[in-house]
């Protein structure tokens, strides 16, 4: 059974459509990469999948017993309060909250998980630092560690490598691949890095102007005219 099924979905803000005619499904273990131009509605799709905003039309069905608190999320932009006093450790730990009960303390297992994720992202040495005093790339890694803590079945990433240096970017892709392959976690990722998408993803969703242009297996996409054109254009840029 599919983890997520979108039927004839139309997305938008206050009734104004941004994208329509979206129909696709995501199976457990998939690695879906969403590509498209700026403003095509990728982030909007993710927010709608997360039920942060209602769809204009159509519906999203969840299957395989997927619950909201089994999802990890990395937003494109965080509306984190400007002068919030929070240490890196506290921020990462807050990702464990959706698997946790009441009371002011996290248990040992949750602390271990948070620490492991900080290690994975190379920010263990920053644990005591204040979040708002980190560089953009460091903040991005902290939020990724938090997202990983929250993930149990599905991980949604909105441009996870934005702001990361080349080495961190490569590490990041490998990390996501490992999570997907070894832990069996379904990944939905937005990326402008079409080469990486072609390399790691199992499925690709290409959103064009108001309409999805392609949705299916990666191999088919690379073979299609659209995929060729897009890959080529990107290749020339680089």
């Amino acid at each position: 059974m599919a983890l997520l099924t979108c039927q004839d979905l139309a997305l938008g803000y206050e009734g104004k459509k941004v994208v329509e005619d979206l129909s696709f499904s995501v199976d457990p273990g998939d690695y879906l990469c969403i590509v498209g131009e700026n403003g095509s509605g990728k982030s909007t799709l993710i927010k709608t999948l997360l039920k942060l905003m209602p769809p204009v039309k159509g519906q999203i069905l969840t299957g395989d017993g997927l619950k909201q608190n089994e999802i990890g999320y990395l937003p494109q932009q965080t509306e984190v309060q400007k002068d919030f006093p929070a240490s890196v450790k506290e921020v990462v730990l807050s990702g464990c909250l959706n698997r946790s009960g009441l009371g002011p303390f996290y248990n040992q297992a949750e602390k271990r998980l948070a620490f492991a994720n900080m290690e994975k992202l190379g920010i263990a040495n920053l644990a005591k630092r204040c979040y708002r005093e980190l560089s953009g790339g460091q903040q991005q890694r902290v939020l990724l560690a938090r997202a990983l803590c929250a993930t149990r079945k599905l991980l949604l990433l909105d441009e996870p490598v934005a702001g990361l240096d080349p080495k961190a970017t490569a590490d990041m892709y490998q990390l996501i691949e490992k999570i997907n392959a070894n832990d069996g976690i379904t990944v939905i990722m937005i990326s402008h890095d079409i080469a990486a998408a072609a390399k790691y993803a199992s499925h690709i969703l290409h959103i064009g102007h108001q309409k999805p242009l392609f949705c299916g297996k990666k191999a088919d996409y690379v073979a299609s005219d659209l995929g060729k054109a897009f890959c080529l254009a990107k290749g020339e840029e680089a």
């Binding site: 942060l52 999802i71 937003p75 509306e79 006093p85 240490s87 450790k89 909250l97 009441l102 204040c130």
Partner: protein, 281 residues
């Protein structure tokens, strides 16, 4: 000399109650200071205190034996109302708060003027606004009510500490990962409303924001994690309140204003400490 005076004053039960109740109220009010500052809810505190004033006016006119029984529910209700409207559209929410708070202040005062049987109207109004001696003139019922509500606020905060952190830090992420952010926002609103009603006893309705926000702001000057800021603001708030009450009864100054003055002085001190340490703590 001062010690003698103090030990003399401590033999009065109302001084002891004032200290106990004052410490508990300031403890519970400082807990949500950070949340209040960061969620830009400071104005809700002000608005609610005016609502509470209106409710007190009505309770006075109705000659209720214990006006807290009316004031608490009314204020909590308005807190929920304000927060609910504030969520959807920003500007409307602001206007709603302004309208509700100024409206209840005006109507409260008007009603008092028209119907109050009390001979000393200006005094009543002034006491509610500035809390000059309110904490020293609590009835036993009010003492117990204050202690009970403070303890409930503290318990709720401890119970939902991590949720409050998550919802304050990044509401979107919290919602996306299955935390019932709306419920916690509601809870925060209710707790804030209760705190406002409590704090009115301590400093009066005009000085509430200072009592709630000053300790958090001071702590944020020096400390950089949520836990340390929360702990520090609790300590600041309790110490300042106790000190304020003691100074007030020794020097005969108005209690509310004295507490707030001590709070402000502490803020200045912590600003300097923050500069000196460069926020390394």
């Amino acid at each position: 000399m001062i010690i003698e005076k103090l030990s003399l004053y401590f033999q009065f039960p109302f001084v002891r109650y004032a200290l106990i109740v004052g410490v508990l109220i300031s403890l519970s009010s400082s807990l949500l200071g950070v949340t209040l500052v960061l969620k830009r809810f400071s104005f809700i505190g002000d608005g609610l205190s005016h609502v509470a004033f209106g409710a007190i006016a009505i309770a006075t006119i109705l000659n209720l034996s214990n006006n807290m029984l009316l004031v608490v529910p009314v204020t909590v209700l308005c807190g929920i109302l304000l927060l609910a409207t504030g969520q959807h559209t920003k500007i409307k929410g602001d206007a709603a708060i302004a309208l509700l708070s100024v409206g209840s202040l005006a109507i409260g005062y008007l009603l008092l003027n028209l119907f109050s049987a009390s001979a000393n109207l200006a005094g009543d109004v002034c006491a509610t606004l500035f809390g000059s001696t309110a904490i020293l003139t609590l009835t036993m019922t009010e003492v117990w009510l204050c202690i009970g509500m403070s303890l409930v606020v503290i318990a709720v905060f401890l119970l939902f500490y991590r949720q409050i952190f998550a919802v304050t830090f990044d509401e979107t992420f919290a919602k996306a990962t299955g935390i019932k952010a709306n419920i916690y926002n509601l809870l925060i609103a209710v707790v804030i409303a209760v705190i406002i009603v409590l704090a009115m006893n301590l400093v009066g309705s005009l000085l509430i924001s200072a009592l709630v926000i000053c300790p958090a702001l001071s702590a944020m000057r020096v400390f950089k994690s949520f836990k340390s800021v929360t702990l520090c603001s609790v300590v600041i708030s309790v110490v300042c309140t106790a000190l304020g009450i003691l100074i007030a009864i020794l020097a005969g100054t108005p209690v509310g204003a004295t507490i707030v003055a001590v709070d402000i002085a502490t803020f200045g001190m912590f600003s300097i400490i923050g500069r000196l340490t460069g926020g390394r703590l």
